[in-house]
Symmetry: D2
Subunit: 345 residues, 4 copies
């Protein structure tokens, strides 16, 4: 199948190129960028030397449709929504890595992103691209909204507890630690090496845009409105997210019961690895891979579950997950081209 990557000069675009190079069913035939149009892919990314000779093109919707049947949109939020409708009308299937179609409510989108949505009619159609939650719907979709990196880790950590209806999901604490590539390839002081190296720092406390995304999915899983307290942190490493979550489960919960919830929920999920009670994940064990490692601990005396999930923010948190969604949409095995193990150490 021929695939396009719209907005391929950023890190998620480069990661799509890397992953798809090893995908047995896909050939990337269309690669666009705005600032870097006309430049070679290898000028920006020497590691993609197998794409030697390929240049970033200027996006043209008709050219896109004629060149590829499936498109990955790796544009910033606010730009994706201007590209998606035309491609969809032209018959393409789409995995959109931006935030534009993740939320079901136009109002919530505008409140958190500060933009009017120009194709809000597609919000109802777009499926939330977290296969472990939503696999059947993704398989039928034309348009999939690939989740944000923080929501992927946080929801995977909390979903079994939410699904079980544990009341403590409301008000759950999500303390997340992200590698700096999460800030993208765009230059900023927060992502400047000398500022970020050797330092840990919370940011956007109480106002990070991934909050409503988590809340919507967790509410849907558990039934009824749920709120989370979400604090992201920057950690001096390139890749990886660790979401440490705290849920009050009360005095009745038993370790066996909690373990049972996780095992049942993820029984058929090839990319979720359960480490079990008392074993905790490290981000490096999933680096470069599409896996999510989850471990937890029930403090019976205090009635609190501490659960942590680790992913590679650029793979399971973005481009790998987009390919996983494409596999489902195409009817291929979910893990096609995604089987590589983490790079450790």
């Amino acid at each position: 199948m021929k695939a396009g990557i719209i907005g391929a000069s950023g890190y998620t675009g480069a990661e799509l190129l890397r992953i798809l190079y090893s995908h047995p069913e896909v050939e990337v035939t269309y690669v666009t960028a705005h600032t870097y149009a006309g430049q070679k892919v290898t000028d920006l990314y020497p590691h993609l030397h197998k794409y030697a000779g390929i240049k970033f093109r200027v996006f043209d919707p008709d050219e896109a449709l004629s060149e590829a049947a499936f498109h990955f949109i790796a544009l910033p939020h606010g730009e994706a929504m201007n590209v998606v409708p035309h491609l969809l009308e032209g018959g393409a299937r789409i995995a959109d890595l931006s935030a534009d179609y993740r939320l079901s409510s136009q109002e919530v989108y505008t409140r958190w992103y500060g933009l009017e949505h120009t194709s809000a009619h597609l919000l109802a159609e777009a499926e939330y691209g977290l296969p472990e939650i939503n696999g059947a719907l993704i398989a039928e979709a034309r348009l999939v909204a690939v989740p944000g990196c923080y929501p992927t880790a946080s929801i995977l950590a909390l979903a079994p507890l939410a699904k079980a209806g544990l009341p403590g999901i409301d008000g759950a604490i999500v303390d997340a630690k992200s590698g700096i590539s999460g800030a993208g390839r765009s230059l900023s002081l927060a992502a400047h090496f000398a500022q970020a190296d050797g330092s840990v720092k919370p940011y956007n406390v109480g106002m990070h845009r991934h909050t409503p995304e988590m809340e919507e999915v967790l509410s849907s899983l558990s039934g009824g409105e749920k709120e989370v307290i979400f604090t992201p942190h920057l950690v001096p490493m390139s890749r990886g997210i660790l979401a440490t979550c705290y849920v009050r489960v009360g005095a009745d919960a038993s370790a066996a019961e909690i373990a049972g919830l996780y095992e049942a929920f993820y029984a058929d999920c090839p990319f979720v690895v359960l480490l079990g009670d008392g074993s905790f994940p490290e981000t490096k064990a999933v680096a470069g891979s599409n896996y999510c490692h989850i471990g937890w601990h029930l403090d019976e005396a205090r009635g609190v579950v501490t659960v942590a999930a680790a992913i590679d923010n650029l793979v399971k948190g973005a481009s790998g997950q987009a390919v996983q969604c494409m596999n489902l949409m195409q009817g291929w095995s979910e893990d096609t081209g995604l089987g590589a193990l983490g790079i450790f150490p």
Copy 2:
């Protein structure tokens, strides 16, 4: 004044040597180590070249008493308690950086550290060496138990809320991120570069020994038993601790009220820098310094305060704080020899 450092070959010992080199009132005259006895300080620590020619000695209690009037104990827990009584009887004043005299209860010590206490009669006398909480008592003490690095950051973050009697202190979440030097100079797989680099990982979840220390102090401040949920993480940096804490304060709390609590509590504390509501600390801003930076955010809708404190684990979290205690015990200005600013970037 002549000072000794008992157990000077570890990182807190080396940090004491570094700090005391610039202290106008102190001369280090007695330096011991076990494994490295007979070796030169500069063989282990080239940065301490001003101590060229000084060798680690074998600890001898009488020699210690004759060589120095004040002793810093930088031994592991379980060893300090075998050294302290003799020195105290000999008239020395002591800042003990181990855990041996931090807890008031012999039973709690044994439960968490797995050891019988051999000098439990001193637990009542030993003052907890957190000057921002306990300055007046430290000034009168013969024996000060310098707090652990995690409790220093966590208690400083939470103390104003505890003192105000906010009920949410019970069950507060403490999600702490530590640089790897917190593991000391002893070799371990967790502190092996290739394992720790590029990775974040929780450890000792629900069972870290600094938990009872936090709980005892917060209980004392607020009146009545308080529990905390404490999860430490290793972060790929050498120095620094960030403690991000979550406290439910209810719907009534106002931002002005929370700010007032912090400002009042730390009005006379030269080493606490309040960044204010909405401003959060980064560990690098305090690297190499004795300062603690604190910032917070009240989420009024959810009724939760997120507060974070950053310290250098080896300075304010250990050796600098020990010197600060010594200054108080000697009647010197609290910040003597401790005025250096953080090394940034």
Copy 3:
């Protein structure tokens, strides 16, 4: 084909397991370790979760022969030579990642490694496993000595100049920078995070054991004894080696001539990527991959070529190269199972 890994608990063993998991022709059936015998692979390496249930066994030569036809030896030098002869006699083919069979001279081995060689009769038979130099001989070999990580990068940087007989190869400077995983999984102060992080340091100056290995190959390529000045450095990153080499080529050399030497030499080498004159490699572009990136600059005024090669020390510098050798020995395409691109950023 069934393969064994003897000494699989170290980083090169783990890396073999990671790579071979994606190899279409190989099944790993025999995995040994000494200290960790009886433990599960995933206890040490959570990223290898696809090997769940597999335990490290105690090495037994007859069991090894019955379980696998091809063996990777990932033991320390001095131990491999006690294992190889028996396996070879039993009909196995072997890629030995230790230093035991890399040098052709027993005397040189003893001088640099301080050991008597117990199977020196195999030195003549063992082929040096650098496929870009020695591919045809590797394809016929029973026993291949996989090169050290530093020699791989350094020889690939210098080979075209050596082959051309440029006299400046004698006395060439090799200034190499290695990630800390090069020190292996064994604990040491040099590989302790807090010591290595934020620091660059030369080590083993003038006496690193990879020196004779480079000299032997470069001498063989150029004809006549050649010496190099080799200085390794530790750099605060997990993976990667950059070898920056300096060769005096005299006033006559032209940029076109130098470029021609590199292009001709590596015309048929799928894992060498030439960046050209004025373009220099970065280690991260090859992280996790078997590629070697090479760039150079001829300073015409000074008559010096500066050439740098970057590899992943655990892949092209060890386990990937061992698999590349196996592919040749088995008559498979050289890049079978080794096509993954570098993980960047």
Copy 4:
């Protein structure tokens, strides 16, 4: 004494503020910045909280002269030369951290920096601010050109050999490794965390602007024109430069002779620490300090000296050295306010 910092928003400016806070003779009274004029120092640099309330001003030459008697110029090259003449005419003494007055030849400046010099008449008067080479002249100067970070480390490594007239200084190899703060606070892809972390890379090979600076000083020390081959590398750490240098000294040189050269040359230099033959420096041992650690090895068989010097690029390589020059210019002890030891680990 009242001092000004012109261009204080960059890292060398911030480092001057940090160092001068502990200087007993100096008060910083005038602080300027262009982009950040009107902002508080602590908005950019929370670690400088002792400067709370101080704002960056717009540079005004008359105001500068009325506010301070000594000025540090921390502007980019090309801007300093527009500021210095007026301040000098107004009677100020100046330590200029830019490159504008380091070279003695206007033509060489233009060739390497691509700019016409607008105050070339001051080139002859400006003293090169490397106190270990030039202390007496600095003490008499009105205008000191503080050396670049790479030349400081490289010249200190090579000066004793150059002074001794060893012919191998001509053509010496300087392979230097720098932390990323050397790129300054200005954003760039090379200094973007996700690009720089986990990677080593040469840059500006054969064309770095610090080359003529090294050559001029080494030529002057040794008598006669000397050339060096200089290759800078970026290393994933915030601070530090290690310059590893290679000098052919011929078959006659003895270890005792080489050691004697270093000891004699640096006999009276408080900031140079000689580690001796066979002992090599690490950058972290000098982090945050004004010290330079030097170690070397004579390979007698090959007739080559490998010598390495480590400094903190922002202290001895910039702001600390500027303060050291100021101390000499003011007749104060050379190490006033500069005695802090390195921050390790």
